[in-house]
């Protein structure tokens, strides 16, 4: 009998989701605030359980789920993001009669991501991937009366389902050639795939399918629309959580299952990485919507992480994994901060069409000091200013590129990160150095709380990187 206790974090989380949904059915709208606390508590409990299980390894359910350093690391990312989002959403969902749906969908999405992290079988991977995706489609369109939110959700859904179809088609070929869907099994039988034209086909399909989720450049067009249109807390979950899920899936598919076909896919990833980071950064320069800017920045960041597929050294993977963690905190925090601003703008002007416009950030340093400070930290971290999480992970990732002798790639990445500083700094300038006519306002506490937690972690990873780096290295060992 397998050790089912390994599954407790997931079970706790799913249980919380069900309980939240159930309780929510019997509460009236005013009392639904408690659901937010309940959900946050459940996510926290699950997070604690994962942290407690660090170092334990095992397989479950006929080896379809594997619990190792990699999966635990990514679960920590997902749960941390979920925790931040669920705390911040306490304010966002206040007075909304659909609170229980929001929280349960969010929790199910997180559970899906966690199962992706643990998947050791393409079938489980796909199902969990879809679980997370489906929940996030609905979350993106959570504001049912808001055409922009619906549009975001629609685009996300269309592209997401296309990517699922591509992925499934690719998996079907992998299965057909190797006769198994188990990830190590595929790796063991890879000779069968190598000798057939299906090999290349499946690689292409998998890159496209996962590329949509990760928002690599030719497949990225949904991301800005979706991140801009969705509620900020949801964008935060999408950019910080869902995208990392794409990465962990890609790690599993390419680094473990299809490693023997690397000749086919490294070049593709190299090209994609370069295009992605360049386009993301360049387009982000001209955005006036902060959420859209963050979306493009997150496209660019995906490009950085993708470099790990090109370099494929242990350091690079550790860097990418650490980057995933840092980016989780930075992006989640930045979106939550934007969410706080949007919340503020909407509470002042009900019918504002563009509540996340950069003009609304004018003088934020005076109007919402905590939000502005945290946002500054996140933005600087995203830009890779030293002593933040973003710098540390960029450092490891870029350094590994040079270690592998791919100076050109490092040069491009570094130049890109130089460009990126501009659009981040612009927001900071608006917040601190441009005057505003608004008064100082009391900041929404749950948002602030979530932001502060994220900021603390962003700084902690930057200052005290050793343990995080160690975990990332451990996780990378699973892959290589």
């Amino acid at each position: 009998m397998a050790d089912l206790t390994l599954l407790t974090p997931e079970l706790t989380l799913v249980g919380t989701g069900l309980v939240v949904l159930l309780i929510g059915l019997f509460l009236n709208t005013n009392a639904k605030k408690i659901l937010g606390y309940l959900a946050s508590l459940g996510v926290l409990a699950s997070l604690v359980l994962v942290i407690m299980s660090l170092g334990r390894e095992g397989m479950l359910f006929n080896d379809t789920l594997s619990f190792d350093a990699l999966s635990q690391f990514f679960k920590i990312i997902f749960l941390s993001v979920a925790l931040l989002v669920s705390i911040a959403s306490i304010k966002y969902t206040e007075g909304n009669s659909h609170t229980e749906e929001f929280y349960s969908l969010m929790i199910f999405a997180t559970a899906g991501m966690m199962f992706v992290a643990s998947a050791n079988d393409l079938m489980v991977l796909f199902v969990a991937f879809e679980l997370a995706s489906l929940a996030t489609y609905a979350l993106a369109g959570f504001e049912k009366k808001n055409p922009i939110s619906l549009e975001a959700s629609m685009k996300y859904f269309m592209i997401g389902s296309l990517s699922a179809a591509l992925m499934l088609f690719g998996i079907s070929f992998i299965y057909g050639a190797t006769g198994t869907t188990s990830i190590p099994g595929v790796a063991a039988n890879i000779d069968l795939l190598l000798g057939s034209p299906m090999g290349l086909l499946s690689v292409v399909l998998m890159i496209a399918g996962l590329g949509f989720k990760i928002a690599l450049v030719p497949f990225h067009m949904w991301a800005p629309d979706t991140y801009q249109g969705s509620p900020s807390v949801v964008s935060s979950l999408l950019a910080a959580g869902s995208k990392k899920m794409g990465f962990v899936a890609a790690f599993k598919v390419f680094m473990i299952a299809l490693i023997a076909l690397q000749a086919e896919w490294t070049t593709a990833f190299a090209v994609l990485a370069v295009i992605t980071m360049t386009l993301g950064n360049v387009v982000a320069l001209s955005q006036t919507s902060v959420k859209r800017m963050l979306a493009y920045s997150s496209v660019a960041q995906a490009g950085y992480i993708t470099m790990a597929f090109v370099v494929m050294s242990k350091t690079a993977l550790a860097g990418a994994i650490l980057y995933a963690l840092s980016h989780g905190f930075m992006k989640a925090g930045a979106f939550i901060a934007t969410g706080a601003v949007v919340y503020m703008v909407l509470s002042e002007k009900k019918d504002s069409e563009t509540p996340d416009d950069i003009d609304n950030f004018r003088g934020l340093g005076r109007r919402m000091p905590v939000t502005a400070l945290c946002m500054t930290i996140f933005l600087f971290a995203l830009a890779g200013i030293p002593l933040t999480a973003g710098y540390m992970s960029k450092f490891v990732l870029f350094a590994s590129t040079i270690e592998a002798g791919m100076v050109w790639l490092a040069v491009i990445a570094i130049l890109n990160s130089a460009i990126s500083l501009f659009y981040y700094a612009r927001v900071v300038k608006y917040m601190y150095f441009l005057p505003s006519d608004g008064e100082k306002i009391s900041e929404p506490k749950p948002y602030t709380f979530a932001m502060i937690i994220a900021a603390i972690f962003v700084l902690a990873i930057g200052f005290w990187s050793e343990p995080f780096l160690y975990w990332a290295m451990e996780a990378a060992k699973v892959l290589i």
Partner: protein, 496 residues
């Protein structure tokens, strides 16, 4: 070491920068800033008096593990190269704060916080003995200066700040590439990661591939040359210096990290670069051209501050040239030029600021006869001008003399080019001096008030220091010579 004194010197300004940010009024902010800078001054003086200038070893070392798996440590230390520069910063910053004591700046808390942050970051660069830490502080200098220019700057502040940012950021990123290269080469060599500057520099010679040694060297050199700035990479400097507020310009002047990098990083690895002679020639040429080119441009300027900025380019050429002299005294001359230049230019920019505030213009042709209305300013400014053009008994003379004389041993051609520039330098200094301070008073300015007491005090202290170190350079020059001898001895190993 009981008290981590170097850490305190670095961290106090940074900490106070945050505290200052939180203050509400101008009074609080300036008191906080002054307090912090005075403490730093006291600590630096303490360090200085306990400093052993007869050895080139690192002193007051501090060490703590940071990210062991990457070989990154928290490592600080001070030697003859960094001591004068730390001292320069510690002395000028409190004076700068005094100088701006009565200014009506918007958002004073941020203003003073940025000054302190710059101070902490710059001193951090000087003291860091770990490349990671070094780079962290190096990048950190960028942020406050960027904001300084883009908030309190002149009409062209946005363009200037962005230009400054792009240039130096690209420069430092290229430098980062070099650091990475060095780091991994050394990692492969020794089998353990280590980011220590001394460690990496000592490993440089063991890198097998000559091409990658060259590449690493060029990448590092590029980063420093941009920051100095040397001739083809200098164009950010005039814009940034001119558009910055007075305090910002002074901070730029104190930003001696580029030149520092030459001595700390470039010279120790220079002998082991395969194309060493070419590199030396490049550095010397760039230095000489900077001197000449800066001087020519300064001559052509109508704006007083812009003229001073170009003269700064010209002066920094001596640093590059001196470093390329690879003789112990030329190198010390270059180091001393950094120190001296910091003092002289601080006064010059303060004076420009005062004049601009008083008259509302900096166009040389519109000014004139200021000495009559502002005698105190005129006296101090004249001293600075004289020092700047290299009058004997003042600091500028010693530096330029050492550089030119001793570089001549190895690089006669370039020195001759540089000497040509001396005449031009003298010409534009005297010309500007005469037009602004003497000549016919422009009546449209009406009755001008002379500089205030705090301004007089701070400018006067710096002027006295210029005089003092001009007469008696040994307090700083000795330790510089000790260190440059060590640097040059490395070259002797290879047989230069």
């Amino acid at each position: 070491m009981a008290i981590p004194i170097l850490s305190l010197i670095v961290l106090i300004p940074l900490l106070f920068a945050v505290l200052t940010l939180l203050t509400k009024t101008k009074e609080q902010a300036r008191v906080f800033a002054l307090f912090s800078s005075v403490v730093v001054l006291a600590l630096s003086m303490f360090t200085y008096f306990n400093f052993d200038s007869t050895t080139s070893q690192m002193q007051f070392q501090e060490f703590a593990q940071w990210v062991p798996s990457l070989g990154i440590n928290y490592q600080l230390g001070i030697d003859g190269i960094s001591m004068p520069l730390v001292l320069l910063n510690a002395i000028v910053i409190p004076l700068l704060i005094l100088f701006t004591w009565n200014d009506d700046k918007k958002q004073p808390n941020r203003f003073y916080a940025l000054i302190l942050a710059t101070q902490g970051a710059v001193i951090g660069v000087f003291l860091a003995l770990d490349f990671f830490l070094f780079y962290v502080f190096w990048e950190l200098t960028l942020v406050p200066l960027f904001f300084m220019v883009s908030i309190w700057g002149g009409p062209g502040k946005h363009k200037a700040s962005i230009k400054f940012f792009i240039y130096t950021h690209v420069g430092s990123l290229v430098m980062l590439l070099g650091i990475f290269g060095l780091y991994f080469a050394a990692w492969k060599q020794t089998g353990t990661p280590n980011m220590g500057i001394e460690h990496l520099l000592s490993q440089f010679q063991f890198i097998a591939s000559g091409v990658s040694r060259d590449l690493i060297f060029v990448a590092l050199l590029f980063g420093f040359l941009v920051k100095i700035p040397a001739f083809p990479f200098h164009s950010w400097l005039p814009d940034a210096y001119v558009e910055a507020p007075t305090a910002g310009s002074v901070l730029f002047v104190l930003l001696k990290i580029g030149g520092y990098g030459l001595f700390r990083v470039i010279l120790p690895i220079l002998p082991f670069t395969p194309s060493m002679n070419l590199m030396i020639a490049i550095m010397a040429a760039l230095g000489a051209v900077s001197i000449l080119y800066g001087a020519f441009l300064a001559l052509a300027q109508k704006d007083l501050k812009r003229m001073v900025a170009y003269s700064s380019v010209s002066h920094m050429g001596y640093v590059t040239l001196g470093a390329a002299g690879v003789v112990s005294l030329s190198v010390s001359g270059a180091m001393f030029q950094q120190f001296s230049h910091g003092l002289i230019m601080s006064i010059m920019f303060m004076a420009c600021g005062v004049i601009n505030n008083a008259t509302g213009t900096r166009i040389i042709n519109e000014l004139g006869g200021l000495a009559r209305k502002m005698p105190k300013l005129a006296v101090i400014m004249m001293l600075a001008f004289m020092a700047s053009l290299g009058l004997p008994w003042l600091t500028g003379f010693i530096a330029e003399f050492l550089v030119l004389t001793f570089t001549y041993i190895n690089q006669p051609t370039y020195v001759i080019i540089a000497i040509l520039a001396i005449i031009i330098t003298a010409a534009y200094h005297l010309w500007a001096m005469q037009r602004t301070m003497f000549g016919v008073y422009n009546e449209k300015f009406g009755a001008l008030k002379d500089i205030s007491a705090s301004q007089t005090f701070s400018m006067a202290v710096i002027a006295i220091l210029i005089l003092y170190f001009g007469l008696n350079p040994s307090p700083v020059l000795d330790m510089m010579i000790t260190n440059s001898e060590k640097l040059v001895s490395l070259m002797a190993v290879v047989g230069v």
